[in-house]
């Protein structure tokens, strides 16, 4: 600035220019950006459809998913059985519909477990810094050094095979990723001057953490959470495929594929439909996750 441009008279500060007519919060803006991406919206629609299928399974399924029928063993898809029947004469469509329950539940619950452990840990590490951060980060390094599925298999093995333990195993194995995301977001948010301003105003540290820093880590955690549900659904299907998740006769997509393998040449439909269901749900979560990332962080690309 040159001295010549400095104000030399004592006119009061000029009133501010006019402001835009309509107010939109950052959240509303993000929602609009998300809705502007057709593929992401399509993914969301598919997810909602699968949630409805999972919740209303008893109403939607044409048959009892575990009722065996010796007269209808390994029948190809037909008008009576749209997706055919399996080696015990059970209706594949009904099993796929009920299988949505295990998959959606596992996806959501294990991610809630993972976020429940990882986010507070990341927040604490990012906020406290120093030794707390070092120790937590080393634990995360150690967990991330174990391949995800192998850690989940080991946990599921030691806990015992069933769906609940599979969800715990997947949740615990996923937690370190949430910790990393939350920690990075905390450091990023804490470097903002408005956080310093909040301290300068006399907010106690816990209030600064909860009111000013925590809301900022919501967007990245949301993105990570959506993508992690996709990974968790694949992981649950994998564990069930290996026999470490949902136990028969209760239907799950992974265990259906396990059984299907034995009849690949005689009854390929057994392998096609559960796999397509997994693919569709996982793809949708990935699309929504990518869409959320672009909507919440417009600066990227």
């Amino acid at each position: 600035m040159t001295a010549a441009t400095l104000p030399s008279t004592s006119t009061p500060g000029a009133p501010a220019a006019s402001v835009a007519p309509r107010t939109r919060s950052p959240r509303q803006l993000a929602v609009r950006r998300f809705l502007g991406r057709p593929v992401a919206v399509a993914g969301l629609v598919v997810i909602l459809a699968f949630i409805v299928i999972a919740v209303a399974a008893p109403l939607l399924a044409p048959y009892d998913p575990i009722a065996t029928s010796w007269s209808a063993i390994r029948k190809a898809p037909s008008a009576a059985h749209w997706m055919g029947t399996d080696e015990n004469g059970r209706d594949v469509l009904s099993r796929v519909i009920f299988g949505a329950r295990a998959s959606m539940l596992a996806g959501v619950v294990s991610v809630l477990i993972a976020a429940g452990i990882g986010v507070p840990a990341g927040l604490i590490a990012g906020f406290a810094g120093g030794w707390t951060d070092t120790i937590l980060s080393r634990i995360v390094d150690a967990m991330l050094a174990c391949p995800f599925l192998i850690l989940a298999i080991a946990l599921a093995a030691f806990l015992g095979p069933d769906l609940t333990n599979a969800m715990i195993a997947i949740g615990v194995s996923t937690a370190p990723r949430f910790m990393r995301v939350a920690r990075a977001a905390t450091l990023d948010a804490a470097s903002n001057e408005y956080v310093e301003a909040a301290r300068a105003l006399g907010n106690p540290p816990w209030r600064v953490a909860l009111r000013h820093v925590l809301p900022n880590i919501v967007p990245p955690v949301l993105v990570q959470g959506t993508l992690a549900i996709a990974a968790a659904i694949i992981a649950e299907a994998s564990l069930s495929f290996l026999g470490l998740g949902q136990q028969p006769p209760a239907p799950s997509w992974g265990s259906m594929l396990n059984a299907a393998q034995r009849f690949l040449s005689q009854a390929p439909w057994l392998a096609i439909f559960p796999g397509l269901a997994i693919f569709l749900v996982v793809l949708s979560f990935n699309l929504v996750g990518d869409g959320l990332r672009d909507a919440l962080d417009p600066r990227r690309r």
């Binding site: 150690a142 050094a145 174990c146 298999i153 093995a157 030691f158 393998q261 796999g275 990935n286």
Partner: protein, 315 residues
């Protein structure tokens, strides 16, 4: 460099120590008494149980057990398989080469697919080929490994009858047969990595293509593809090295499923079998060894990274 390597190793040791605590801690999650499982038929005999407990240090405190176990690990003793009564380290040494062959082939396939796809996507940024590559990549990431394997068996082995659906022939026995039995599993295993590589190559290429020296080359009138291949590709190789190490975990995780689908007697199949046999020392050994491999490979990648990218030296 030697000093920095020392520092890096200094960082790794606490990580590995924590891994060992984690792996040791797994045991504590187990319901029931390990001695009962080991005793098998003789579980009714209190004398046998007491003997097993003493042998496994199960009658000592946890820290004592850990120190005893760690002492073994540091001497290359990962314990004994409860089922086969063989040293775990020996079992792993037998199975690891099979999985490594699979992993190396898978990574090669992933590089062959992912890197060119990433380059094409970057060059045709926001145009048809870019969208196509991204769509295929996303589909690849969303396909469960084991389902892709099953579908390939259905198509290639059942319908077309080109390749055997399962089994494994070691490389040094009959390399043709070995390739025939591993090419399909390797493709399945490489699929997810290819998608990840594609994404990273694309963004590394986009950055490289924006650099001044690339612009200069272009301004000098070099053909676009000459510019890309000669000037930008080098930078695109950097993520390949880093990712190769980072995605080892993905490869090993995928190998568990792939080996199960294709009945390949590798590392992954071993851990699944061990889980069903409640052969816990094997499970622990596998986790420990994979974690160690992961840390080691990342160390190598860090060093390579600096070699490839001299600008980082002394930074």
């Amino acid at each position: 460099m030697s000093g920095s390597l020392g520092a890096r190793i200094g960082q790794i040791i606490p990580t590995l120590l924590l891994v060992s605590v984690l792996v040791f801690g797994l045991q504590q999650l187990m319901p029931g008494d390990p001695a009962l499982i080991m005793a098998g038929e003789e579980r009714g005999d209190p004398q046998v149980l007491a003997q097993i407990r003493a042998e496994l240090w199960l009658d000592r405190s946890l820290p004592e057990q850990y120190v005893h176990w760690m002492d073994g690990v540091l001497h290359g003793n990962l314990g004994y398989s409860w089922r086969i009564r063989q040293p775990v380290s020996q079992l792993i040494a037998q199975k690891l080469p099979v999985t490594l062959q699979l992993a190396v082939m898978a990574f090669a396939i992933a590089v062959l697919i992912g890197v060119p796809a990433g380059i094409v996507a970057a060059v045709y940024r926001n145009r048809f080929w870019d969208y196509l590559a991204n769509a295929i990549g996303l589909a690849g990431l969303s396909t469960p490994t084991f389902w892709l394997g099953i579908m390939l068996i259905l198509l290639v082995s059942v319908q077309l009858q080109w390749l055997p659906p399962s089994g494994y022939v070691p490389l040094f026995e009959d390399w043709r047969q070995s390739l025939a039995t591993t090419i399909m599993p390797a493709f399945v295993l490489g699929n997810a990595i290819a998608a990840i590589l594609m994404r990273h190559t694309r963004s590394a290429m986009l950055t490289a293509l924006d650099q001044d020296y690339v612009r200069t080359a272009r301004a000098k009138g070099l053909r676009e593809w000459t510019v890309v291949l000669r000037h930008a590709l080098r930078n695109a190789l950097i993520p390949v090295v880093t990712l190769g190490a980072l995605e080892l975990g993905t490869l090993l995780s995928g190998a568990v499923l792939t080996e199960q689908v294709f009945s390949i007697p590798g590392f992954g199949k071993m851990i699944v079998d061990a889980v069903f046999n409640r052969d816990y020392p094997v499970v622990q050994g596998v986790v420990l060894v994979t974690a160690f491999l992961y840390v080691l490979l990342n160390l190598i990648a860090d060093v390579l990274y600096v070699v490839i990218n001299p600008r980082l030296r002394g930074a």
